[in-house]
Amino acid sequence: MSPDPLAPDPVLSAEDVSVKFGGLSALANVSLQVPSGRIVALIGPNGAGKTTMFNVLTGLQETTTGRVRFNGADISGWPTYRRGRAGIARTFQRLALFTRLSVSDNLVASWESSHRGGVFGRGRSLRQERVHQVMELLNLWPIADRLAGELSTGQGRMVELGRALCTDPHVLLLDEPGSGLDVKETAAFCDVLRTVVRGPSAPAVLLVEHDMTLVMEVCSALTVLDFGKVIACGSPEEIRNDELVRAAYLGDVSVA
């Protein structure tokens, strides 16, 4: 039930966060940590508050209580764009691509937005290099010239991931990257995810995902939300055996 004592310092953490929509308590005193270099998951049934938590972490949602820390600093008051530049990148549950730009320009725009002077066209060679890398990594070359609005969901999710990677993030928040993907695409996505977190300057990942096999396979720790409350957190082993989680979330889904 307790977080792994051996985990490295959290790169991103939420402390005691509460969010209310009118009478609805979407998050109630939720804390969670993303240790650097790890993939951790945030799971829970529909409407549990996962996306709301992402919005809090990226500054798109105001909180009633609680703080967000990034590399030790309190960033609760930071506007969204500042968090983006500092190294918090995310994808969206409902795709939010720049539909009228080509795939490569989606990545370029992302690099320009997150890097100093990018919008004045500075650092072109660095930009080319990074975009090239990401395109290679996610195998985006075949669709580089397509308009992002014309892509399938699977391709779109890849482009969103690529767009997030182009900001050179310290932490990557992925909101249901597997939804809308077929089996093959999911497998490919798993592989990509593993490559992404390898390497010295690789980002930590916070993953929201309904696909339990995927989650159990790649994550080192999980936090389980239900109705805005944390009902469990720990290693995949612990979560699998947690009675509360079984009752609230996993139901009769076999995860053994």
């Binding site: 969204t80 730009l101 320009d105 990545l107 937005s113 997150s114 975009v131 090239h132 010239d145 014309e150």
Partner: protein, 683 residues
């Protein structure tokens, strides 16, 4: 308190009409997802029709009324429904453009059908007065209006509460797709909503007109009053809209108690618009766009088939090199040729007609600011001419009566427009789509009433004069010199815009429009970006305004009214709001008056044609510019076969019998029968 009593009563009378109009507007917004900016025009059209039937043909009111309410209004409602049906689920921008097109079309139709003189509509109720309470004189017409309005509001309420129509409406509002599935006939509900709404418009039209006088734009303006109460009801609550109308009427009436002095009179006139602006900004983020459910399906249908092209040929070199779509503007050579030709125009048109063409060039410059703002950055503005006005009046005062250097006056005009642009820009941080359009409309009207209306600013209806510029010892008093100057200025700014479009800044405008939320998570400071865009566009508009003043040499507030901004948007949509060529076409349309074969009388027809063109082209960001390019290519193609890639880019039909090349990366052979398909991606 008792001193206010008469004003409150009087306010109730006017307010009751606003309330009725507000309900009519809300009705279609909540059931169909269409905010009918042309609502006032519909009311106006109905009032004119009634005038024609009753006052002109002499048909008795007992027959004219049923004709109006049971024949004309329903037909008009059905026409509107038909116009909007294919647009279900499209972006707010398209819907706004269409409703403005309808506004302009009705505004053009009335003079064609009924003649353009002002009319006086006979009162439908007796105008005698009776004494209410101790000393308040009330007209029977006012009382009648209140009674009709109240009973109509009650009737609508009963209809929605206690009939099948009510439940069906709620089902459709809630979830159109689901409603269809459970057997509610969504189309019928939508038709009924349009008919009811038009019915209300007709009522509003004939109840307001006897007092206001029949005038095309006056009535449109009065109905804009009712937008504030509609917004107060968050555009979905009918009772709140009605009550908001009453409150607005009462406040207006109380303000009129103090409106003897100039400033307060202006404030009173501006009150409805000020309150609309403030309400929008305050309620901003809580205002939801209705009709998203309808939207989803339709959007899916539009976006589905991946009409694709070009292969995996992207090279590292191509990334971020402006290889993406700059549309029909792509052809720089053509632009250069055009520029040289433009420089040479005075050789062909030396006479006074050149003067009109100068106006066209200046108009194109102003239009260009709207292309950048609306077409590229996706921020709809119905206030661009307010900034033009700031530039023009500043030039008039500084370069004219104060004898300052013209360039200095231009600079000050641009600087003065900046803080005003920031106001609009700040509003745009909280608003988008329809609500931003309404806010800019309100802003333009506020500028009209409290700034341009002041005689010390604008010289009143006689206006002020602006001198022709004298720069670095060169006098631009002559036609030809002035012409060359404005062409060069336009050329410079167009080149700047083009360069901006193809670089990182262009991408930033793009992503601001496509998904501002995603852009901000990547590190884009939306506040700064939007303010910069609004300010830059306003400053260039002010620059255009200074030259506009220098061109006409005499300016009045009428030149910069909200209708001018509206016309600008329509012309830019017609030309192509996403391309520089669109601005040039807009300017050319204005310059057509220089053509010898277009006599003045044709203007009405031209206006109608433009309005209809706008309705037709609302979904085509490249407007007629794209068609023009396509036609040119057709002609060229006849003369000489083009390389295939050009043909496909411009959506030319493949030569008969030939099958278009399959895309390079397509592994699967093209299915039989797809041969006649033309790969026509938006260039």
């Amino acid at each position: 308190m008792s001193a206010f009593y008469p004003f409150i009563v009087i306010g109730l009378f006017t307010g009751s009409v606003y309330g009725l109009a507000a309900m009519g507007v809300v009705l279609t917004y909540k059931t169909v997802g269409v905010f009918n900016l042309a609502y006032g025009a519909v009311a106006m059209f109905c009032a004119y029709t009634y005038w024609e039937l009753h006052d002109h043909w002499g048909i008795t009111a007992w027959l004219a009324m049923p004709i109006l309410f049971l024949v004309v209004a329903p037909i008009l409602g059905l026409i509107l429904e038909g116009l909007y049906r294919p647009l279900a689920g499209l972006s707010a921008e398209v819907l706004i453009v269409v409703s403005l097109g309808i506004l302009a079309a009705l505004g053009a139709l009335v003079p064609i059908i009924y003649g353009s003189q002002d009319r006086q509509l006979q009162a439908i109720f007796p105008t005698k007065t009776f004494v209410l309470g101790s000393h308040l004189h009330v007209g029977y017409d006012q009382m009648g209006t209140l009674v009709v309005s109240l009973s109509m509001a009650a009737l609508l309420w009963a209809l929605l509460r206690h009939t099948k129509f009510g439940t069906s409406t709620r089902a459709v509002v809630d979830n159109p797709d689901l409603a269809d599935m459970i057997g509610v006939h969504g189309d019928n509900v939508r038709r009924a909503a349009w008919i009811l709404s038009t019915f209300f418009a007709a009522l509003v039209g004939i109840m307001i007109s006897p007092r206001q006088g029949l005038d095309i734009y006056q009535l449109v303006l009065v109905v804009i009053y009712c937008f504030a109460p509609a917004v107060l009801g968050r555009l979905v609550s009918l009772p709140l809209a009605y009550i908001g109308g009453l409150i607005l009427g009462i406040i207006g009436s109380i303000l009129s108690k103090y409106s003897n002095s100039g400033t307060v009179a202006n404030l009173e006139a501006a009150f409805p618009y000020l309150s609309l602006f403030v309400l929008l900004v305050v309620l901003g983020p809580r205002l939801k766009e209705v009709g998203t459910a309808t939207r989803r399906l339709a959007v899916a249908a539009v976006a589905a088939p991946g009409k694709k092209k070009s292969g995996a040929s992207a090279t590292l070199f191509a990334i971020g090199q402006g290889r993406w779509r700059v549309g029909v503007d792509r052809n720089l050579t053509l632009g250069l040729v055009g520029f040289v030709l433009a420089i040479l125009v005075p050789l062909a048109v030396p006479g006074p007609r050149l003067l009109i063409i100068i106006g066209g060039v200046i108009y194109a410059l102003i239009a260009l600011t709207l292309v950048v703002l609306t077409g590229w950055a996706g921020q709809i503005s119905l206030a661009q001419f307010s900034f033009v006005g700031v530039g023009a009046f500043t030039a008039g005062h500084l370069a004219g009566s104060h004898g300052q250097h013209f360039l200095f006056a231009v600079l000050i005009g641009m600087l003065l427009s900046a803080p005003l642009a920031v106001v609009v820009g700040l509003a745009s941080l909280r608003l988008s789509g329809l609500y931003l359009a309404l806010a800019t409309l309100a802003f333009a009207l506020v500028m009209d009433t409290i700034v341009f209306n002041r005689t010390d600013v604008s010289g009143g209806l006689t206006g002020i004069s602006v001198p022709r510029p004298q720069i670095f010892g060169i006098s631009f008093t002559g036609r030809i010199a002035l012409y060359e100057l404005v062409v060069v200025i336009f050329g410079l700014i167009a080149v700047a815009a083009y360069a901006l479009r193809a670089g990182p800044m262009g991408r930033r405008l793009h992503i601001l429009r496509d998904s501002p939320l995603a852009a901000s998570t990547l590190g884009v400071n939306l506040t700064v970006t939007k303010l910069v865009v609004f300010t830059a566009c306003a400053m260039v508009a002010a620059l255009g305004g200074s030259f506009y003043g220098a061109w006409t040499q005499a300016i009045t507030p009428l030149d910069f009214m909200w209708t001018a901004s509206l016309e600008l948007l329509l012309l830019v949509v017609l030309g192509g709001r996403a391309v520089i060529s669109g601005a040039i076409i807009a300017g050319s349309v204005v310059a057509t008056q220089a053509l010898p074969f277009i006599p003045v009388e044709v203007n009405k027809i031209l206006a109608l044609t433009i309005a209809l063109g706008v309705i037709g082209l609302a979904q085509e960001p490249e407007g007629t510019a794209r068609m023009t390019a396509r036609q040119t290519m057709h002609v060229l193609a006849v003369m000489k076969p083009l390389p295939k890639r050009y043909r496909n880019t411009l959506g030319l039909p493949a030569p008969s019998g030939a099958v278009p090349d399959p895309p390079v990366d397509r592994r699967v052979p093209a299915p039989a029968g797809s041969g006649e398909g033309v790969s026509s991606h938006v260039a």
